[in-house]
């Protein structure tokens, strides 16, 4: 759909984990059009000395109610400011829907989604779509600690099998990074004769790089969502480039979802 710059109202803004919040926004036009993996470029009110918007993936949407959810982590000034937006707050503006959505191959019968930290959020709408299309979907989630596995409940409710989880402190699921779970999932699926036809990963770059490598090793088509600092957020300024085998591409409109094989890692 065409881009819009929509004034959004805050309906709810809840703390859901350590430095983790979910903002629920009324933004009907974008809610109607947004696809899994796309993002919104948010003007946060009350940031007069900050000249840039902030990009956030959409965690969930209700097209009929005209509502978007964003799961966000407090990492700096803007995300901290966001936590102060009370229900009813005006002044948020969203440019959206922006960017390349996840594009799972139509022929993939089984999919593996890997979310590290808040990277679990941009995969949720993808997961819903895959499940709806009858694709058998497994999810691996990693986080620092149990309470940071903020999306786990929703994935559990959606999936036949609960997501496999790892926490750095071992407070839930496997202790350590989630990478071993990914490797196991890929191997198990292959052994069971139902190999994955698609891997989608979102999280810190080192995680994505490793998962991309594993998918490549197992010959599975893999996509990932890249984060870059963004100025315009709509493809004009070339702030956000990612090195790819075809040269520099813009994370905002050529991505944020890239084919893993395209990406040239730093």
């Amino acid at each position: 759909m065409a881009l819009v710059n929509e004034r959004a109202r805050v309906l709810e803004n809840e703390c859901v984990g350590p430095n983790l919040h979910v903002a629920t926004l009324s933004s009907p036009a974008i809610a109607a059009g947004i696809e899994p993996g796309q993002f919104v470029h948010m003007k946060i009110p009350g940031m007069d000395d900050h000249v840039l918007r902030r990009p956030f993936s959409v965690y969930a949407r209700d097209a009929e109610a005209g509502v978007l959810e964003i799961l966000y982590q407090v990492v700096g000034f803007g995300s901290a400011r966001m936590t102060e937006l009370a229900a009813g707050a005006e002044g948020v503006e969203l440019i959206g829907p922006v960017g390349r959505a996840w594009q799972p191959p139509a022929e993939a019968k089984r999919a593996l989604l890997v979310g590290g930290g808040v990277g679990a959020a941009p995969l949720f709408m993808l997961c819903e779509a895959l499940v709806k299309n009858g694709v058998r979907t497994d999810v691996v989630l990693g986080a620092q600690t149990e309470t940071a596995l903020a999306c786990r409940g929703r994935y559990e409710a959606l999936l036949a099998e609960p997501p496999r989880c790892a926490t750095d402190d071992g407070s839930f699921g496997r202790e350590g990074f989630c990478i071993s779970l990914v490797q196991e999932a890929i191997e198990e699926a292959a052994r069971a004769g139902e190999p994955y036809g698609y891997v989608a990963v979102c999280g810190p770059e080192p995680l994505m790089k490793i998962v991309a490598g594993m998918a490549d090793g197992a010959d599975i088509f893999c996509e990932l969502s890249m984060e870059r600092r963004m100025a315009c957020g709509i493809g004009a300024c070339l702030s956000c480039v990612v090195d790819t085998i075809e040269g520099k591409k813009r994370a905002c409109v050529d991505g944020p979802v890239f084919k893993a094989q395209e990406v040239v890692w730093a």
Binding site: A2, L3, V4, N5, K43, D48, D49, H50, V51, L52, R53, I95, R228, R229, M230, A231, C232, G233, I234, G235, A236, C237, L238, S239, C240, V241, V242, D243, G247, K248, V253
Partner: protein, 303 residues
Amino acid sequence: MSVNMAVNLGGLTMKNPVTVASGTFAAGREYGDFVDVAKLGAVTTKGVSLNGWEGNASPRIAETPSGMLNSIGLQNPGVEHLKKCDLPWLAERGATVIVNVSGHSFDEYVQVIEALEGAAVDAYEVNVSCPNVDAGGMTIGCQTESVEEVVSRCRAATKRPLIVKLTPNVTDITEIARAAEASGADALSLINTVLGMAVDARTRKPQLARVVGGLSGPAVKPIALRMVWECHRAVQVPLLGMGGISCGEDAIEFMLAGATAVAVGTANFVNPTATLEVIAGMEYYCEQQGVESITELIGALQC
């Protein structure tokens, strides 16, 4: 009352004084859902070189108080791509087009202009803020000699309006302005970005891969206004003012200080319709103040 918003920028007729700052609006297409390019005084395209440049490594931007740094490094796909993809798109929509020209050598500037002479271009904006081999790797725009050289060579290559875009990173901008004027510039554009740097205390690293970058946005507005005012008193050619313009009032300030036209840059990023709002804000100001033609404001500062 209807305000006459038209201005003439060194031979370039603009239906209103507002263009975009090169590099912040690509060639307009990305903003197509927000801005009808025909409504702008002109579209100034992203800097273009002969064969295209890769630009710098990421991260390329950082946010600073009321501003931002960029070190895009003039990434562009080259002049042929501009001719094939962007200029026809702009022409179809009836846009007035200023092409921002870059080069790593004096020859490259001329080659870019030559390549564009047959195309739908209304004016050139020569960006002398590029580091350049002929200037010993230094920025051309910092020395009168290299400015004179590149401007006279570009001048010889075209009869179209030639705008020279100055860098603010100099001791005396009027000296450079006079050199550009004397070498045949029809107008001067200022300011380009101010050299700056940002540091991440936690990681102890520069925030830009390139370490230093160009500062733009409201933070630089006082510097830009001062330079426009200085140049207005130093040269005869008209000025295209920019640096931190985000609303109509900002634009009016530049015109009062001596600008004939203005460009909106960084403001597009936070507000994709900033250009249209600047135009509307300028018209509103004129109506309120009984200004019949916006040209009355050029250099009308009372001091």
